[in-house]
C-alpha cells in the first residue's frame, strides 16, 4: 500500500530543550520528519519549545508552535489545527510521554485524530519492564534472572542459582536506597541485610550481575507489511555498567561470529513483532556473556533514539526519514535508497569501514560531581569518526572530541603503573586513555582485560597503536612507508610530531613532500556493491579517491564539532542555514563536521559532506582534495562557534581564503589589548581590566581594579573556567587551576559590575551598513553567564536613548573590528537610580554567530545566519533588503515578547557521597539547552518559558523563600504580590523578620543548620511537597551549606527553584499572568504575519 491519502495534516511533536540524554539528534530526526511530510504534500504542524532547532524554523512546517510541550498546549493546537494524525516517535522520550499523556486524557478520540508511527499499547509493552520481560521470555529470549527474597536465608538460596556477584535491590525504597552489588557472602549479609531493613515490605530483589558483559545494540525498522530490517549493529567498547550514551561505541559489531550475530538479529525481529511496533524504528539492547555467549535482552526503545541518529550517520540509512514515510503508509520496499538511487530501502546496510563514537563530557564544569560513569547518562555530546580500520576510526574520533587529554599520547604517564591499574577498574571519562598508557607501561591484553572487561580484541588494537607509536618514535627517519602506515593507524601530524619532537607543520611538510595524502571514500550503505550518488565522504589513507570533479565554485562550511556546554545546536543551526542559503545562491556547499547528532551531518543538507575531525590537519586535507576537484572560493568559519573560529588563523596562514570576517578581525576582537584600542577609538568604555601571566601580576591587577573581580582564561567559550573572585586567596587558587586549562594564553581579570543589567546584541555588518538584529535584556543580573541567564526580546527596561547608544556602540565596534557578517556584543548597564539611562559598558564582542542567533531569528522573523553567509560571499545589507532576506528598512523588530530560558542539568549529577550538586548559577556556563516563550505580555512569555524549561509555575499554594542579605530588600514587592495572589510564604528566620518589618507575613521554618530548635526544616517542607516554588539566593561567598541543602532538595523533588531576585520578580509577573488567563497559542508564522 502506498501513502495513506487520508492523512493530509500531521502534528509533529518535538523534543523540547537539549538536556543530557536528549540532545540535538531529535532536531535531526524531527527536521527529517518535517521535510519528508512536506515533500509528500502533507500539511505539517509542529510543536517544540526549543528555538535553537532547525525544525522550528518557519520554512520547515506550515504552522510552527514554539510553545511548552504540555497536554494543555497540545490540546489547544489540536483543537485549532485539527491535524489528521500526530507523529510522536521522532521527538525522543519527551514526545512519547506527551503522546501518552494526551491519550490518557482522551484527546485523540475527542478530536478524531490518530497517533501514527507507534500505538499506545506497543509503547507500553516496550517501556513497561514487567510486560517487556514477559515478551522477551515468550520469544525465547532471556532477561537477567532474579529472585525475590524476604530473609537472608532466601538470599543464600537465591545466590546458589544466580552466583556472585549479585545485585541487591530493596523493594519500595526511594532513589535506589540500599541497593548494591555483593561479591561474596559477607557483602551479601551486609547489603541484603540492610536492604531487608530498609524495605517497608522486608523484601529485596536479587538479580544476577551482568556487569562486564559485552554490550550490543541493534537498530530495527518495521513496516506495516511486517517487513523488518536491521539497520545497524553497534558494539560498546565499554562493557555493561556504563550507559550506552557514555560509552565509546563502534559500528558494526566486531567481536561476534555470524551465528551469534544472527541470534541477536532473530531476537530483535521477534521482539519488535511481539511488542507490536507497527511501523518505524526502535532499538534493542543486549548483553552477551563473554565466556559462554549467553544473551540477555536489556531493553528496547519503541521510537527513534540517539542511537538511531548515530546509526543513520554510520550507515547512510536515514532512519528518521524512512520512519516518517512508513508512518504515513509506505512500506520499506516502496521507498528508494537515496544513496544508490536504484535499490529499495528494504535491505540491511553493510559497512566497509569502521565507525567509532566517543562521548564528550563536561565534568570540569561540575567539579563536585562524581566522575564515575554509571548507568545514568552524563555526557553532553559526542563525536563520530569513520576510518578503514578500528585504530584509524578510534584515533580520529578521539581527536574529534576536541578536548585536551583525549587523543592518545606517549609522553611519560602522569600516573604510575599501579595507580593506572587501580584507575582503569573504574569507568571514567579518560579510562581508555588510561588503558592505553597502562599498556605502554607493559601491561598485557590479558591483564587489562581482567581489570576492565574491555574485549581483548579492542585492547589488542590499542596495543597495535602503541607499537606503531614506538616505531614512529624509534625509527631513524620518517620514511614514506612508515608515515603511510602511521596514517593508516589514525595518527595525526600532531601526534607524530610529538613522538618525533618536531612540529606538526614539519611533519605535514615531510608528508606532503612524500605525497602521502588521504583519499576520500564514500558512505554508501552497500560496501560499494552499487554506485553511490551522495557525496558523503570520509578520509582514509588508502589507494583510490572517490571525490568527483565539479565545475561549480564551492564554499566550505566548518561545523561546530561535538555538542558541549556553550557550543550546541545553536551553531549547527547557523551552519545549516548557511548551507541552504548558499546552495540556493548557486554555490556548491561543502560541510565538514564530526557530530553525528546534527542536521549539518545529514547527507542532503549540503552538496557534499565530509565526516571529519575539525582539526587544522583534517580540514586542510579536505580543502586540498576539494581544490583538486574544482574551484573553492573559501571557508566560512564564523558560524560554527569557537571551533572553526579557532582554526581560521591556521587556515589563513596555510593560504586558505576565509570568507566573511577575517582572522585578523577575529584576533582583534579576541585580544583584549587590541580590542581596548578599538573601544578607545570609539570612546566606549569597558570595565577596568588587566591581563596577567602570573599570580603576582594578577594580584597587582586585582588590587588596582579592586575586588570583586571576574577572572577567566582567554580564548574560551561558555565562560569555561570563569569565576568571580572576592579575595587574594581565591585568586591564587584560580590562577593555579586556570593556567592548567590553557597554558599558552594569559588570564583576564575584569572589574565585576555588581547589579548591572546585562545586554546581548546580535547584529550584521557588511563593512558599511549595520543591521541591528536584536537587543536582548538578561533577566538575571551581570555575573550570571549569558548562556545560563534568561533573557527577553525586546528589552524591557531600556529607554530610547540607551537603545540608540547601543546601536551606535555596536556599529562602531563592528566597523572598528572589521566584521563581515555576524557579531555578538555583550554590554552591561549600570544605573545609580532606577529610571535613568545609565552607563553603557562593553563586556565583550564576538565576531561570529552567537548562541542567540536562532532565538533572535525566531523572535524577529529574520534569517540572520542566511544573511551572514551571503554577506560573507560579498553581498551587502542593502542587497539583502532588496532580495527580501532582510526587512526593506530599519532594524530587527520582535513580534510579541519573547523570553529565552536556559535549562540546567543539575539532576544528572551526584556527588561521590550520593548527594546532589549545587544548582546555583554563576559566571561559568552550565546549561545544556534553552527554551523560548512567546506571548503578548512579558508575564505570559516568561511563564511559558518556565513551563517549557522546568514545569509550570504554580498558580496557587506555598512558596518558600530564603534570601541572602543583599537580596532581601528587592524581594519585598514580589513577596507581597505573591501573598496578594493568595500564596502562603514560608521563610527562614532572616528573611522572615525582614519581610515582617516590611509588612509581609510568612510562616517561619527552621534552617537545617540550626540544631537548637525542632520543627519542620527548610528541606523538610521541600521534600514533603509542601511548597511548589523555591526562591533561594545564595550568599556572595562563604559557607553555603543551608542554601545548598535547599537547592539540592528542590532539584531532587523537581520543584522549580529560582536563585536570583530578578528571576523571582519575573516569576511573580508570570504567576500573576497565569492566575488570570490560560496560555494563548500562536504559531511563528502567525506572529510574523
Amino acid at each position: 500500500m502506498p501513502k495513506d491519502n487520508s492523512i493530509k495534516s500531521v502534528l509533529v511533536i518535538g523534543s523540547g530543550p537539549i538536556v543530557i540524554g536528549q540532545a540535538c539528534e531529535f532536531d535531526y530526526s524531527g527536521t527529517q520528519a518535517c521535510r519528508v511530510l512536506r515533500e509528500e504534500g502533507v500539511r505539517v504542524i509542529l510543536i517544540n519549545s526549543n528555538p535553537a532547532t532547525i525544525m522550528t524554523d518557519p520554512e520547515f512546517a506550515d504552522a510552527t508552535y514554539i510553545e511548552p510541550i504540555t497536554s494543555e498546549i497540545i490540546e489547544k493546537i489540536i483543537a485549532k489545527e485539527r491535524p489528521d494524525a500526530v507523529l510522536a516517535t521522532l521527538g525522543g522520550q519527551t514526545a512519547l510521554n506527551a503522546a501518552m499523556a494526551l491519550n490518557e486524557l482522551g484527546i485523540f478520540e475527542k478530536y478524531g485524530t490518530k497517533l501514527i508511527g507507534a500505538d499506545i499499547p506497543a509503547i507500553k509493552r516496550g517501556e513497561d519492564r514487567d510486560i517487556f520481560k514477559k515478551i522477551v521470555e515468550k520469544v525465547g529470549g532471556e532477561s537477567a534472572r532474579s529472585v525475590i527474597c524476604h530473609t537472608l536465608e532466601d538470599c543464600y538460596g537465591a545466590v546458589e542459582t544466580l552466583n556472585y556477584p549479585v545485585v541487591v535491590r530493596p523493594s519500595f525504597t526511594m532513589g535506589g536506597l540500599g541497593s548494591g552489588i555483593a561479591f561474596n557472602r559477607e557483602e551479601l549479609d551486609l547489603i541484603a541485610g540492610a536492604g531487608l531493613r530498609h524495605s517497608p515490605t522486608s523484601e529485596v530483589l536479587l538479580e544476577e550481575s551482568i556487569l562486564g558483559w559485552k554490550e550490543y545494540e541493534l537498530e530495527v525498522m518495521r513496516d506495516h507489511k511486517d517487513n523488518v530490517v536491521i539497520v545497524c549493529s553497534i558494539e560498546n567498547v565499554d562493557p555493561m555498567g556504563v550507559h550506552t550514551g557514555d560509552s565509546i561505541t563502534v559500528a558494526p559489531a566486531l567481536t561476534l561470529t555470524d551465528v551469534e550475530y544472527q541470534k541477536l538479529r532473530d531476537l530483535s525481529i521477534d521482539i519488535i513483532r511481539e511488542v507490536g511496533v507497527a511501523t518505524g524504528g526502535c532499538n534493542i539492547q543486549f548483553a552477551v556473556n563473554p565466556t559462554d555467549g549467553r544473551i540477555i535482552v536489556i531493553e528496547m526503545n519503541p521510537r527513534v533514539s540517539r542511537s538511531s541518529a548515530l546509526a543513520s550517520k554510520a550507515t547512510g540509512f536515514p532512519i528518521a526519514k524512512i520512519a516518517t514515510k512508513l508512518a504515513i503508509g509506505y512500506s520499506l520496499d516502496e521507498i528508494q535508497n537515496d544513496i544508490t538511487q536504484s535499490t529499495p530501502a528494504s535491505f540491511e546496510p553493510t559497512l566497509d569501514y569502521i565507525v567509532v563514537k566517543v562521548p564528550r563530557f563536561a565534568f570540569e564544569k561540575f567539579p563536585e560531581a562524581d566522575p564515575r560513569l554509571t548507568t545514568t547518562m552524563k555526557s553532553v555530546g559526542e563525536a563520530m569518526a569513520i576510518g578503514r580500520s578500528f585504530p584509524e576510526a578510534l584515533q580520529k574520533a578521539l581527536r574529534s572530541v576536541e578536548k585536551k587529554g583525549t587523543s592518545f599520547s606517549w609522553g611519560s604517564p602522569l600516573l604510575t603503573r599501579s595507580e593506572l591499574e587501580a584507575a582503569v577498574c573504574i569507568p571514567t571519562e579518560f579510562r581508555l586513555q588510561q588503558v592505553q598508557q597502562l599498556m605502554t607501561l607493559g601491561a598485557s591484553v590479558e591483564e587489562v582485560h581482567s581489570l576492565t572487561k574491555i574485549d581483548p580484541w579492542f585492547l589488542s588494537q590499542i596495543e597495535l597503536i602503541n607499537s606503531m607509536a614506538n616505531e614512529i618514535r624509534n625509527s631513524s627517519d620518517l620514511s614514506s612507508e612508515l608515515l603511510s602506515r602511521a596514517k593508516r593507524y589514525g595518527f595525526s601530524d600532531i601526534q607524530i610530531g610529538e613522538l618525533r619532537q618536531v612540529s606538526e607543520e614539519e611533519v605535514r611538510g615531510v608528508r606532503h613532500r612524500l605525497g602521502i595524502i588521504p583519499v576520500y571514500k564514500t558512505v554508501d550503505t552497500c560496501a560499494a556493491e552499487f554506485e553511490a550518488h551522495t557525496p558523503y565522504h570520509y578520509s582514509a589513507y588508502d589507494l583510490e579517491n572517490e571525490v568527483n570533479a565539479r565545475t561549480k565554485p564551492a564554499v566550505i562550511i566548518l561545523g561546530s564539532g561535538p555538542n558541549r556546554i556553550g557550543q550546541g545546536v545553536e551553531f549547527d543551526y547557523s551552519c545549516v542555514h548557511a548551507a541552504f542559503a548558499l546552495k540556493a545562491a548557486g554555490y556548491e556547499t561543502i560541510m565538514i563536521n564530526c557530530n553525528p547528532e546534527t542536521v549539518s551531518t545529514d547527507y542532503d543538507t549540503s552538496d557534499r559532506l565530509y565526516f571529519e575531525p575539525l582539526t587544522l590537519e583534517d580540514v586542510l586535507e579536505v580543502i586540498h582534495a576539494e581544490t583538486l576537484a574544482g574551484p573553492v572560493l573559501g571557508v566560512i568559519a564564523q558560524l560554527g562557534g569557537q571551533t572553526p573560529l579557532g582554526l581560521a588563523r591556521g587556515l589563513k596562514d596555510a593560504g586558505v581564503t576565509i570568507l566573511g570576517t577575517s582572522p585578523d578581525a577575529i584576533d582583534l576582537a579576541e585580544d583584549r589589548g587590541q580590542f581596548g584600542s578599538v573601544l578607545d577609538a570609539a570612546h566606549l568604555i569597558a570595565p577596568k581590566y588587566g591581563m596577567a601571566h602570573s599570580y603576582e601580576e594578577a594580584l597587582t591587577i586585582a588590587h588596582e581594579i579592586s575586588y570583586p573581580v571576574l577572572v577567566r582564561p582567554s580564548f574560551v567559550l561558555g565562560g569555561r573556567g570563569m569565576e568571580i573572585v572576592y579575595d587574594d586567596e581565591s585568586l591564587k587558587g584560580f590562577i593555579e587551576r586556570a593556567t592548567q586549562i590553557t597554558p599558552n594564553h594569559p588570564v583576564l581579570i575584569d572589574r565585576f559590575l555588581d547589579d548591572a543589567i546585562e545586554i546581548d546584541v546580535d547584529a550584521l555588518y557588511d563593512g558599511e551598513e549595520l543591521f541591528l538584529a536584536g537587543v536582548m535584556e538578561h533577566i538575571e543580573e551581570a555575573g550570571i553567564h549569558s548562556g545560563d541567564s534568561a533573557c527577553v526580546l525586546p528589552s524591557a527596561s531600556l529607554n530610547a536613548e540607551m537603545l540608540n547608544n547601543i546601536r551606535e556602540a555596536t556599529l562602531k565596534i563592528a566597523s572598528g573590528v572589521g566584521v563581515r557578517g555576524l557579531i555578538n556584543i555583550q554590554f552591561a548597564i549600570t544605573r545609580t537610580n532606577p529610571g535613568e539611562t545609565g552607563t553603557l559598558f562593553v563586556l565583550e564582542a564576538n565576531p561570529r554567530a552567537s548562541r542567540t542567533v536562532p532565538f533572535v531569528s525566531k523572535a524577529t522573523g529574520n534569517p540572520l545566519a542566511k544573511a551572514a553567509a551571503l554577506i560573507s560571499m560579498g553581498q551587502n545589507i542593502n542587497e539583502l533588503r532588496q532580495s527580501g532576506v532582510l526587512p526593506k528598512v530599519g532594524d530587527g523588530v520582535a513580534h510579541g515578547i519573547s523570553v529565552k530560558e536556559a535549562v540546567l542539568p543539575w539532576n544528572r549529577f551526584r556527588r561521590v557521597d550520593g548527594t546532589g550538586v549545587d544548582s546555583v548559577l554563576g559566571p561559568e556556563m552550565r546549561s545544556t539547552g534553552e527554551v523560548m516563550g512567546i506571548a503578548d505580555t512579558f508575564g505570559e512569555a516568561y511563564a511559558k518559558s518556565q513551563s517549557a524549561a522546568f514545569g509550570a509555575l504554580p498558580k496557587s499554594g506555598n512558596v518558600f523563600l530564603s534570601l541572602s542579605e543583599r537580596d532581601k530588600e528587592g524581594s519585598v514587592e514580589p513577596a507581597r504580590e505573591l501573598v496578594e495572589l493568595g500564596f502562603t510564604l514560608y521563610t527562614t528566620s532572616g528573611t522572615h523578620d525582614y519581610l515582617l518589618k516590611a509588612g509581609v507575613a510568612s510562616t517561619l521554618v527552621r534552617k537545617n543548620s540550626d540544631e537548637t530548635s525542632t520543627g519542620l526544616s527548610a528541606v523538610d517542607i521541600i521534600a514533603n511537597g509542601t511548597v511548589q516554588l523555591v526562591i533561594n539566593t545564595p550568599l556572595g561567598r562563604g559557607t553555603r551549606h543551608d542554601g545548598w541543602l535547599i537547592r539540592t532538595a528542590s532539584v531532587q523533588r523537581s520543584i522549580p527553584i529560582i536563585t536570583t531576585i530578578a528571576g523571582f520578580k519575573a516569576a511573580v509577573a508570570g504567576i500573576s499572568e497565569i492566575t488570570k488567563n490560560a496560555f494563548s497559542i500562536k504559531s511563528v508564522q502567525e506572529w510574523s504575519a
Binding site: 561476534l256 540491511e348 566497509d352 556493491e529 583510490e544
Partner: protein, 378 residues
Amino acid sequence: MSKAYLVLDDGAIFEGESWACTGETFGEAVFSTGMTGYQETLTDPSYHKQVVVMTAPHIGNTGMNSSDKESKKIWVSGFVVRNPSPRVSNWRSENSLEDSLIDAGVVGIQGVDTRAITRHLRDRGSMRVGIFSGSEHSREEMVVKVRQAPLMSGAFLAADVSTQEKYIVPVPPGVTKLFTVAAIDLGIKSATPRHMSDRGIETHVFPVTATKEEILAIAPDGVFLSNGPGDPATMVEIVELVREFLLDGMPIFGICFGHQILGRALGFETYKLPFGHRGINQPVKNLRDGTVEITAHNHGFAVAAPIDSNFTTVFGAGYVSHICLNDGVVEGLELLERPAFSVQYHPESAAGPHDASYLFDHFADMMAKDKAARHAQR
C-alpha cells in the same frame, strides 16, 4: 612482511602484503559484502576456484571454530582482506584464521584497498585474478599468468566438491522422522541437511555421479538439489536426471546452483551476472505475498525466466516466486502443477539472516501433500 600483488585479468594490479600462505594462486575474483560469517564463506564449496575479496575491513576477529564449518575444508582459492586480526577474541574460537588458511594452503593478501578492488569488479565485472607473493615475476608476467587461468564460464566443478560416498544425515534425537530426501551434492553446505533434519527429514547425501536407480533405491519422498560452484550450463546429466524426476512427479527443492539446474531442466537459459550477488543483506521479494526477506546470496549465474506472468513448460505452468529487489534478478521458481520449487539464494543462511528458513517448511509440506496424495491413490 613481504610484498604481495593482486593481479586482475584486465591488467589492474593492487599491491599489498603477503598473508596466510606465500605463493601463487588463481581463480575468479568475487567480492562478498557480509560483515560477519567469513568462516562460513571460506568453507562454502560454492566458493571453489574463487578468490574472495572481503569488503568488511576487519577479518578474523572471532577466529575459527569447528561448529561453524559449512564443509570439511576451506574451498576458496585465495583470500583478500584489508586488516587481518592480530588476535582472536571469541569464546568458541579454536584456531586463528591465518593458521587455518595456512593449514589449508590458501594464499592470501592483506593491506590492499579492498573497496577500490570491489568498485573495480563492480564496474568491470567478475574476472580472473591471481595473487602473487614471494615470487619474482614482472608485472607483465603476472598478468599473462592470470590470463592463462581457466574461466568460470564453462567450468564444471561439481565433481571437485561432491562427496565421494553417499552419507546419511539422520534426524536428531527427539525429532520424529517424517521423510527421506535424496540430496544431490553439488557442493552442499552442512547447514542445509541440518535445517532438514530439524524438520524430521532424513537426508541421504548422494555424490554428483549418482544414478536414478541408486537414488530411487532409498525410496525418497523428495529430491534436493544443492548449491555448488561452476557454470550451470555444464550440468547436462544432472539436468536430464531432474527432468526424469519432474516427469515422475517427485517433489524437488533446489537451492542456488540447484535452482539454476531446475531452471535449465524447465527449459530456461542461465546467464552470467556482471559481478554476481554475494553478501548477507540482499532484499528478496516474495511475489506470492509481497513480503521482503533479507537473504544470503552467493551466485554468479542466474536463470532467465519471465517475471511478469506465469510461464508454461513441458512440465506444466509455473511462475517466478521471488526476485531480488536490487536488480530484478530471478531468485525463485515454482511449478504450479508439479511439486517442484527452487530459490537462487540461501534459506539455510550460514552465514546470513534466517528470514527464508520457512522454505524448508514449504518443502516438508510439499512432501507431506505428495505423500498423502500417493497414499490416497493406492
